[in-house]
C-alpha cells in the first residue's frame, strides 16, 4: 500500500529557511535530499494504486525521476510501453512529451488508438535519442498513450550539423 505521509513530513521539515534557501551545512542539505527521496517511494506506490484503480488495469508503473537528464531505463529499453500523463491543472493542456529512447522508429497512439505524429531527435550533447510527441491531457485528469517500436527500422534522425563559429 502507498503512503504520502513520509513525503508530507519531509515537505514540512523542508519549510525551514535553511532548506528553502540553502543556508545549511552540506550534510544537512544532503539529509534534506535523503528525506525527500525517501518520501517519494511510498508516494509513487500510492499514485500507482490510484492510476491502476482509475485506469481499470493493474500494471507495474515506473517513475523516471531523471527525465530532466534524459535517463529512463524503461523507455530506453522496452519495445513497447505506455505513457500516462497526469495533468493537475483545472484546464486541458497540450504537452510535448520527451522520452529518451534507443535508436528506433516508433509508433505512438493516443487513448483512442489514433496514431499521433512523433519525432526521434538526436541530442547533440550526448548523441542519445529522444522521442517527442504532443499529448493532450484533460483537466485534472490523465491520458494514456502507447508507444511501440517499429521492428527492423532505425531512424534517419536528422543528425544536427555542428556550426563552429570562428572565435570572435
Amino acid at each position: 500500500s502507498g503512503d504520502s505521509a513520509p513525503l508530507n513530513e519531509a515537505m514540512a521539515v523542508l519549510q525551514h529557511h535553511d532548506a528553502v534557501s540553502g543556508t545549511s551545512q552540506q550534510h544537512v542539505a544532503d539529509d534534506y535530499a535523503r528525506q525527500l527521496a525517501a518520501g517519494w517511494g511510498p508516494c509513487e506506490v500510492l499514485l500507482s494504486n490510484a492510476l491502476a484503480r482509475l485506469s481499470g488495469s493493474k500494471v507495474e508503473f515506473t517513475f523516471c525521476r531523471n527525465l530532466n537528464i534524459s535517463l529512463c531505463p524503461l523507455s530506453q529499453t522496452a519495445e513497447s510501453f505506455q505513457v500516462t500523463i497526469y495533468n493537475p491543472l483545472g484546464r486541458k493542456v497540450d504537452w510535448m512529451v520527451r522520452l529518451p529512447v534507443s535508436k528506433h522508429i516508433f509508433l505512438v497512439k493516443d487513448p483512442s488508438g489514433t496514431v499521433v505524429p512523433n519525432n526521434v531527435v538526436t541530442m547533440p550533447s550526448s548523441n542519445g535519442q529522444e522521442l517527442l510527441f504532443s499529448a493532450s491531457v484533460p483537466a485534472l485528469g490523465f491520458s494514456i498513450y502507447s508507444v511501440t517500436q517499429v521492428p527492423g527500422r532505425s531512424p534517419r534522425a536528422p543528425v544536427p550539423q555542428p556550426r563552429f563559429q570562428k572565435p570572435s
Binding site: S21, L47, E60, C72, M96, N119, L132, Q161, R163
Partner: protein
C-alpha cells in the same frame, strides 16, 4: 546557410551566426520585434575588501566587483529542426550550455540551461547568472513576483519604506524571484518565467538577470560555519527559463497562464504494456 533562426507559428528567434548568441526575438502574432542579447556571466565572490570584511557565502551575496565576467564571448551551436521541435544547442564552456527550444503552438521561447560543476580551481568563488539585455527604456523599474501571487514593483537603488543609502550596487538590487521577473517600457513587456526560486534583478535599463548557480569558498560568518561549496566535483544544475515577449497590455494573461502550467506541470508515469484488469468484470 549562415542564417541561424528557429520559429513556430507565434515566435521567431535569431542567433548571431558568428557568436551563436541569441540576438533577436519576434512575436509574430503581435508583430513585435525585440533585439535581445542573452548569455551567461559570473560574479567573482567577494572575500572582503577595504569597505567591508563581509564575504559572499550561503546567506550573503556580495560580488567583489560590479561587473560580472562573461563565461564566453561565443557559443558553439548546433541546430536541430524537425516538425515537432526546433532547437539551437549552445555550448558556452565545459560547465555551461543551453538549449533554446520552440515547439509548435508554443508562445514562449524555452531556454533550458545546464550549469556546473562550477570550477573553483582558480581560487575564486563564482555566482553564475543568465542575463538578458535589450534597449527597452525601463526607467529603473522592474517587477518580481511574491510566491507567484503578487507582483511587486522594484526601483533600482530605492526602497519604498525608508531612505536607502545604497552600499551594495549589485546585491542591494537583487530580489527573490519565485516564478517571474519582467521589465516593460509601457508598450512592450519582456517576461522571464522560472521553474524554481532564484535571485534576480535589473541592474541597468532594459536588462534582466537571474542567478542560476553559486559555488563559494568562504564562510560568510552568519552561522553556517562552512562555505557554500558542494563536496567532490560539485553539482551541476539544469533548469528552464521561459521567455515571453508581449504588448504590455496583454502580457499579464500570457504569463499568468504559462506560469500556472509551469508550476503545475503534467507528470509522466510509464508502464510496460498489458496488465490485468482491475475489476473481474
Amino acid at each position: 546557410s549562415r542564417d541561424l533562426t528557429i520559429q513556430n507559428e507565434y515566435i521567431w528567434a535569431r542567433f548571431d551566426p558568428d557568436t551563436g548568441l541569441l540576438v533577436e526575438m519576434k512575436n509574430l502574432e503581435q508583430d513585435l520585434l525585440l533585439p535581445i542579447r542573452q548569455t551567461f556571466y559570473w560574479y567573482n565572490a567577494s572575500t572582503g575588501n577595504n569597505l567591508s570584511t563581509q564575504v559572499s557565502g550561503a546567506y550573503i551575496f556580495r560580488p567583489n566587483q560590479q561587473e560580472p565576467l562573461l563565461i564566453s564571448h561565443w557559443a558553439q551551436t548546433r541546430l536541430v529542426k524537425t516538425d515537432l521541435v526546433q532547437e539551437v544547442h549552445q555550448n558556452f564552456s565545459a560547465w555551461c550550455s543551453q538549449v533554446v527550444r520552440l515547439y509548435p503552438g508554443q508562445r514562449h521561447l524555452e531556454l533550458e540551461w545546464t550549469v556546473g560543476p562550477i570550477p573553483v580551481g582558480d581560487g575564486w568563488g563564482k555566482e553564475v547568472i543568465s542575463r538578458f539585455d535589450t534597449a527597452l527604456e525601463t526607467k529603473g523599474l522592474f517587477f518580481t513576483d511574491s510566491n507567484g501571487r503578487e507582483i511587486l514593483e522594484r526601483r533600482r537603488n530605492y526602497r519604498p519604506t525608508w531612505k536607502l543609502n545604497q552600499t551594495e550596487p549589485v546585491a542591494g538590487n537583487y530580489y527573490p524571484v519565485n516564478s517571474r521577473i519582467y521589465i516593460t517600457d509601457q508598450n512592450v513587456q519582456l517576461t522571464v518565467l522560472t521553474d524554481r526560486s532564484q535571485g534576480g534583478s535589473s541592474l541597468r535599463d532594459g536588462s534582466i538577470e537571474l542567478m542560476v548557480h553559486r559555488r563559494l569558498l568562504r564562510d560568510d560568518a552568519r552561522g553556517v560555519g562552512e562555505p557554500l561549496l558542494e563536496s567532490e566535483s560539485g553539482l551541476w544544475v539544469r533548469g528552464r527559463h521561459l521567455v515571453l515577449l508581449d504588448k504590455a497590455q496583454t502580457a499579464a494573461v500570457r504569463h499568468r497562464l504559462e506560469a500556472e502550467k509551469e508550476l503545475l506541470a503534467p507528470q509522466v508515469v510509464l508502464a510496460r504494456g498489458g496488465g490485468t484488469p482491475y475489476h473481474l468484470e
